[in-house]
Amino acid sequence: MTQPVKNIAVVAPRFPEGPTVGGAETLLQQFALRLAAAGYTVTFYTTCACDHVTWRNELPPGACMTGGVRVLRFPVDEDRDLDAFLRAQQRISLGREVTPDDEQAWMRNNVNSRALIDALARDADGLDRVLAGPYLFSLVVRAAAVCPGKTLLVPCLHDEPFAYLSAIAELFRHVRGCLFNAAPERALAERLFGPLPGVRAVVGLGMDPFDSDPGATARRLGLAAPYVLYAGRREPLKGTPLLLDYLAAFRARTARDLHLVLTGAGPVEPPASLRGAVHDLGFVSEREKHDAMAGALAFCHPSVNESFGIVLLEAWLAGTAALVHAGSAVLVHQCRRSNGGLWFRTYPEFEEELLLLWDEPETHRALAAAGRQFVREEYAWPVVEARLIEALAR
């Protein structure tokens, strides 16, 4: 008879405290908190870093309890050669030929914590499962190597040059299994690494229902015109420059006063033609973000690199329709399954879809209602928790 799973370790480079942490770490934190609430003994192994650029040790090392989870913080190794890492990172991200030496340099000088790996190795015998992610950190690759037979990788995999490294293929092939966020992410893993052994579960992140005020953001900004919302990091990989270009073309070609509201981190550089039409709210509370979502003509997610798209599900829960880039298999998959959003490949499709939402409120309502229903059925926490617990037990 298999032994019941009781003691869980979760490994991620950061433990989210405050608004600056990415979706993958939020996902792992939520898994940890939910499992602790369900009676599992959960230890979260993480680093003392807060900033995903500098990886400086900002928090004190040591243990603390958060929501029933024991959080252990370890310093990031400070002897990494940042120049060598950046050189290798650039070669890889530009899609140039990567030699074994480049790959070694990238792994060696990536975010690592020897103290964390040592502690995990010491505790390994008492652990039943290790959840580790996201995949593109050397820290996660090394943590998975401590007890691969017990490790379930939460990869948050994207089709990007790093996913093609041989160390990453090894990682996927040697762990106990993977917990994916969506079926296209699993399909991508199987395309890149071949048939995967063991657990290949699609779990995702749960969503709690929330209240929102659709008029709050417009009142706060004194905005009478419709707006499109973007929520998240602003960077080329997330498609924000594309959204600004599309908005400028839309306003110029249709002479409609469409605005863009952004929440989240990172610089926004709208062209002069968009002066007064782009409203950067920066970091906002969850309530303010949900209000902004609820009042939008559309929630636009122009990123092609998504393994889940938490904000897309939040936007549906807030009751708005979505527009996503057709280059993201995951976002299109979610829109198809939910009937809650449309996808565009090019500017002309974007323009037609926005005009449709603008001129046909009943279509907007139908999309938004379908999206909300989908999230309530597929991503309610009890449903996600059941998928997670089943995957852990396998």
Binding site: P241, R253, R345, E360
Partner: protein, 148 residues
Amino acid sequence: MSDDIFRIGADGIETDAVVARIRERVAEKMERGLYTDGRVARAERTNLAQLRDREDFLAFYLDCLREAVLVDINDFEIHERRARFSRPLVLLKRSIWKLLKFYTYRLWSQQNQVNGLLLSAVESMDSRYREKFDALEKRIDALERKPS
């Protein structure tokens, strides 16, 4: 443009069908030249990496680029929002614009030449590779049909 809007009007909705109809609509409007516009070319500059596998879109993009290739330094209406000294300010701005135009004329003309040459080079590469691919595809077809 609003008289030309595509309508769904559905209670329930099937997004696959909506997107398919939007794409038909876009294809038809492209044929009518309604998207051959420099502004579309500019809007797509950050999307080109996603479009590299779509031959039809590259042809369309080149059409848009032809519309956007020349830098516009024609005179334009100069306004002054401040009511006080509006007339002298407009005159001053007009003089500045004339000077700017005069001193940047060489730059403008070189830029237009470079843009035009680059567009011709891209068009010629595109047509050469299209011909080459067509010839290769025909050859592969012929070889595949040949009894072994």
